[in-house]
Amino acid sequence: MRIGVVTFPGTLDDRDAARAVEYAGAEAISLWHGSDDLKHVDAVVLPGGFSYGDYLRCGAISAKAPIMQSIIVAAEHGFPVLGICNGFQVLAEAHLLPGALTRNADMHFLCTDQKLVIENNKTMWTNGFAVGQEILIPMKNAEGNFNCDDATLHELESEGRVIARYVGANPNGSRAAIAGITNKRGNVVGLMPHPEHAIDLLTGPSEDGLTFFTSILNAMVK
């Protein structure tokens, strides 16, 4: 099983994402933003960072990169994509996921270990969790405030497409304390906090994050 990890100019967490992919037992394949070649990978991770320096809007320029044009077409046909932090912003800007990630309500750059509750374990990236399971993974962002209109929120809630919500005080003003969502098909997932930083107790607050990466292996084997 080959999982691509995309590097944009300004990506930070591609190495940790690749490491998480390999911890889960898959082969991590580096993909470059400037090429439209998906190198026959079975799934893709868009990692965190500050691609294009967050110029224009977070993820806006990356969403127009050549690799994204291939990913958009593939994702519309069921190809699995996980966007973490800046990757979630890219997915929203690419309209693979609804809504937008805006400035945190209190203007702070948040850097903390964040508790989340998993609410949907039907997606390709969350099938290893139990619904209601609480996980602890790092979060670090300034634009993690999930925004959408009422109709979109209603659609997300009624279709069970919120995959994870913040537990406790809402850290950044996200609507309905949303930390992550999925598309209708469950192949595209965006998550603001960072599961790739929580795969080993040596470096992370838990090993909870690894389940996102083992979930995709389960999904592909089925």
């Binding site: 809007r57 127009k64 609804p98 937008a100 805006t102 203007m107 925004n147």
Partner: protein, 81 residues
């Protein structure tokens, strides 16, 4: 030379913490006239010669697809001398 101007603003219902922070700082500097502040973006686009209707139509499309995120932002396209 006239330029094409694209102005982008967060929609009124979207929280603008940057504008709020600016509004909070103004009175500290002695500027008490402002009731609220919202911060936006302005793109000044030079073209060869006078902007044509076709160029303005392209600018509209560029604003819709790229310069603004219409989930959270609105925009206006105009020409300035």
């Amino acid at each position: 030379m006239p330029k094409i101007i694209v102005e982008v603003m967060l929609k009124p219902e979207i929280l603008d913490p940057q504008g709020q922070a600016v509004a909070a700082a103004l009175p500290r500097l002695g500027f008490t006239f402002a009731q609220s502040v919202r911060q936006g973006k302005r793109f000044e686009i030079e073209v060869a010669g006078e902007p044509t209707p076709a160029m303005l139509a392209d600018a509209e499309r560029a604003a819709e697809e790229f310069l603004a995120n219409t989930v959270i932002e609105s925009f206006v396209v105009k020409v300035e001398q």
